[in-house]
Symmetry: D3
Subunit: 135 residues, 6 copies
């Protein structure tokens, strides 16, 4: 299996509901350094997994919807704890929607799976991975 | 699949038996930067993979049993080469025992698998991964 | 010159005032991975720059005053843009006050200078450095 | 499953054919920091995945065939776009041939799979992984 | 002293003249991950060292003049060995020219010094630092 | 000022004398990832700071004297706490002796200063820097 990965970041404010979160129940924030891994069984005729230029533009568009915001005020996320693992899935789904919409080019139809990792500090990170059609 | 990872470290002395180890047959030591990845299929109602606070406490307890010691004198490891890959499995097993004992909370029962990676330098690392019940 | 450095992190929400900040004028947040470098000309009789245990406790105490908070609501910071470079100086000053108060032990009196670096993402960081008595 | 990974690097010039590559159609170059992960189900009697000394020598030999060269002039690669993902597979195959030739020792026959990752910058990397016999 | 640093990268082909370079006399290439550190004694009224948005645009413009090229064919560099340390100085000078031309905004006039670091692999890097007016 | 840096590592056992060290008074060990920075005011006619090949050989020779050993049994270090900062100075001095002996080539006579950093984990490191003639 082949894979290609790209890295970007975004910076948000949020708070969590539930005693398990301790002081993170207060409004705070995070920088998330995001790695998206695209996987397929064979390379395209050009010898690539995906058009990395288009993939980067799509990822930036997905992150721009979240970047420099207070996620507690994002209506699409109301009632959710926007934990690192939750956000990994959210970005997975939104990248999948852009693949389905053709934004990564026709070759992207042969991507089999993706993994989205959010690094929240030098000592903690979370990820979601699955088949592209799961998105 | 969702995953959450945490990082800690420990520092030990040890030596290896066997010609394959060359100069590492002498008493020497290592810093191991340990990454433990916890995996499950779905998030808890709070939106998490595992209570990261409890997971960190359990990992620190496991590493404290090894930290600042000469592993050649650890009776539980007698007759074993405490290679990086061996230690990855040891920590996997000991984390699994703490999960089974409920130390990571009741939600941890739904963890499906774990991966323990020990980074021994900027150019070498080893890992063990498997189902939690393997521990 | 000798130096010893330790790393910790904290996670906050904040917003900035001024057109130069563009979308960062909105309430957002950041993870700051903080490196504090302690410098002196000679080692103590024990062969150290500073008691790293005490230094780590002091740094954690300084960061706990900021961690998991909305800095826009911190009265001590009212009217200030809590940029990465501003926060580097703030932590420098607060570490200096703890050194002056003896929290790092008597040997810390011979520290000559410090550097505080805040890593805000994989592509940006800021620092403040100066003589300890500047703090 | 156990794994051991080693890191090396090589530096090459090349160019790509195809509009999808934009300015990378020009002759340019890259540093590739290469991670090779060796996997097996159980450890050898010595407690290792593979003789890391021999593995490192084999990897260096594979990379020396590419290092400090213009890949556009390598007859073995004629007509190919030597993308990061293509090179990951190439190195996977060449490492597999050396395993089959016994260069990593007899114990290496029990390696089940390998993963070769090429880091081309701080924001992009690619990999190929598969069963050893696929090489 | 305050500093702010930003990271970017570029990818080039080149060769070196002189026996000291060994196999690097052949046409090969490199990825350079570039860190530019901007320094000043005090913060601007907004609480910053420099407009990081403008600094990033200027750095990208400087690197675009080199990126995806064979430096052996760059007339401005004829007769020069474009070593990592040479390129660090070149980028220092070109950033300095853009500061002098006002591209980083009027506040950039108070920058005192800069450091440009080029990371060429996980085991080697080079830098040039000096007063801004040296550029 | 120009600088060039190279990275290597070594792995040792040792123990410390003194209550300040807590559990590190027991025999334990460490991996040290060593960065040596060589500095000079101008480049050589070839456009380099130092012959990086020779510098790497000298560094490896210095580290081989320590690597895979129990420093408590090294007669040259008897009565010393081999802390990270102490070892940084030791390596600085030994590199300086090799420069003085001509091992880095005649051009190395114009090196003005060096910095030796020992990274002992992902959260702690120490360094010694000074004029080359101080070694």
């Amino acid at each position: 299996m082949y894979s290609v990965s790209v890295r970007e970041h975004f910076m948000i404010a949020h708070s969590f509901q539930g005693e398990v979160f301790g002081p993170a129940q207060r409004l705070h924030g995070a920088t998330y350094v995001v790695d998206v891994e695209f996987r397929r069984l064979d390379l395209t005729p050009e010898g690539i997994v995906v058009d990395i230029g288009r993939a980067g533009i799509a990822l930036k568009a997905v992150l721009d919807e979240l970047n420099y915001r207070n996620l507690d005020e994002d209506l699409a996320l109301a009632g959710k704890n926007t934990t690192t693992e939750f956000l990994a899935r959210l970005i997975f789904d939104r990248m999948g929607a852009r693949i389905a919409a053709g934004e990564l080019g026709p070759g992207a139809a042969e991507l089999t799976s993706m993994k989205v990792t959010l690094n929240e500090s030098h000592v903690a990170w979370a990820a979601f991975e699955g088949p592209v059609e799961m998105a």
